[in-house]
Symmetry: C2
Subunit: 222 residues, 2 copies
DNA sequence: AACATTATTTTGAATAGTCAAAGTTAATCG
DNA sequence: CGATTAACTTTGACTATTCAAAATAATGTT
């Protein structure tokens, strides 16, 4: 029914409407995210509107229909379960799974999805800390904050990495800054665009640039 | 580089050239196998010739180039390793894996392929008894015969099922006629188009029609 | 050889997805 | 308000893949 292209558009619209905290996604953002020229996004979106996946209002943007939302959630679920499976079952590197999942999310059946999910013990989060939509299409919302916004002295648990760049993820893996690990925020230096922290419990001290600290989201601990 | 469609054409050309015992595959056979009208196959094949995947001689047919052959073998390898993985790791039913693998063979990277292969212990045959091309692109040839061609009284091991029909495979599973199991051929009745056999060692007797007996390939035992 | 049959190719048209470039709209600024 | 700009849409063109139907070639048959 839905082509791979349509599934990708749906998923990105879902993600963008979340990121923008707005149901309606403007065409510019969508085109940029899909890495196509704006005219392509317009053409595509008009076709998807005709097929009932979304509502398109010229010069306003798109919002998913119920069907569109359902399918977007399923694709996202497949993506994240597959990522988890690649790490847990096939021992792939944290940093390379996103690309793999980008293709696999369109190739696995609902049955395979469920078997993988079962094998993994129905995980709630993927290896990057992103929540996995449930079979019913629900996503848990958490109140997280960026590492860069934490108060000095706070001890926090890394919850989510908001970047898929392989090199960055490899760096985090090397330094132990992976979802689930605990750190303490030591200092912020706005002038130098630096954030100092130490790992817990081993107490290794390190610095991060502003961009990196904004990509690491944490939940308060204790 | 190669689209999913091209990968599918390449794989079927490889399989057909094997089945027909002829490097050159005629357009009619290819179109039928790809489930497209003949004109479509002609168009496609001309484009694939231009891209160097095969050599096309009008009214003669196609033969794979070295590149085409390599890729066809890799796709076939992915297909069969994936089938094995779905059965062994995800406990999918023997009868449903072919469809799944038809999509997955285009979605997994070489790395994922190798991890699955490793996980499975580098199997030589897939769940249907089809040989899995090695990493170097070699396929073992075996001298098998159809069950329908066996001599009366012969004890044989089921090696390969030459049919992907889910209902037929489910039947074989139910009756224990799966690759690896042993049977003895009791009788052939050309008039009634029937073949009688018994399972070994439990000695369950049963009949098979001509078409079914032609789909089950065996190797002589002992 | 002439005709019929079968296999294959060609032609014309359609759909999906894309880009480049030109045209529009709406918002912003002076 | 009118000009400038940013965001967006439209138009025309292209590639990949497909079908239907007509044309052609090869093969077999009287
Ligand atoms: Mn994708
Ligand atoms: Mn992820
Ligand atoms: Mn396939
Ligand atoms: Mn198989």
């Amino acid at each position: 029914m839905a082509s791979i292209t349509i599934e990708n558009y749906l998923k990105q619209i879902l993600l963008l409407s979340d990121e923008l905290a707005n149901e309606r996604v403007p065409m510019g953002k969508l085109a940029e995210r899909m890495q196509v020229v704006p005219g392509t996004a317009t053409t595509m979106v008009k076709a998807m509107d005709r097929s009932g996946w979304l509502n398109y209002i010229p010069r306003e943007g798109v919002s998913l229909t119920e069907e569109g939302n359902q399918l977007a959630l399923k694709v996202l679920r497949k993506h994240r379960v597959v990522e988890m499976f690649l790490v847990e079952a096939l021992k792939l590197d944290w940093s390379e799974i996103h690309q793999e999942a980008e293709a696999l999310e369109h190739a696995i059946s609902d049955k395979v999805l469920d078997r993988m999910d079962e094998y993994l013990g129905r995980p709630a989060y993927d290896p990057h800390g992103d929540p996995i939509p449930t079979r019913l299409g629900e996503i848990k919302a958490r109140k997280l904050q960026a590492l860069s916004e934490c108060q000095k002295g706070q001890t926090v648990r890394i919850a989510q990495i908001k970047q898929q760049d392989a090199r960055f993820l490899q760096f985090l893996d090397r330094t132990g800054l992976t979802p689930g690990s605990t750190i303490r925020v030591l200092d912020h230096d706005a002038t130098a665009d630096l954030h100092q922290l130490e790992t817990v419990p081993d107490g290794r001290k390190m610095h991060l640039g502003g961009k990196a600290a904004e990509s690491i989201w944490v939940s308060p601990k204790g």
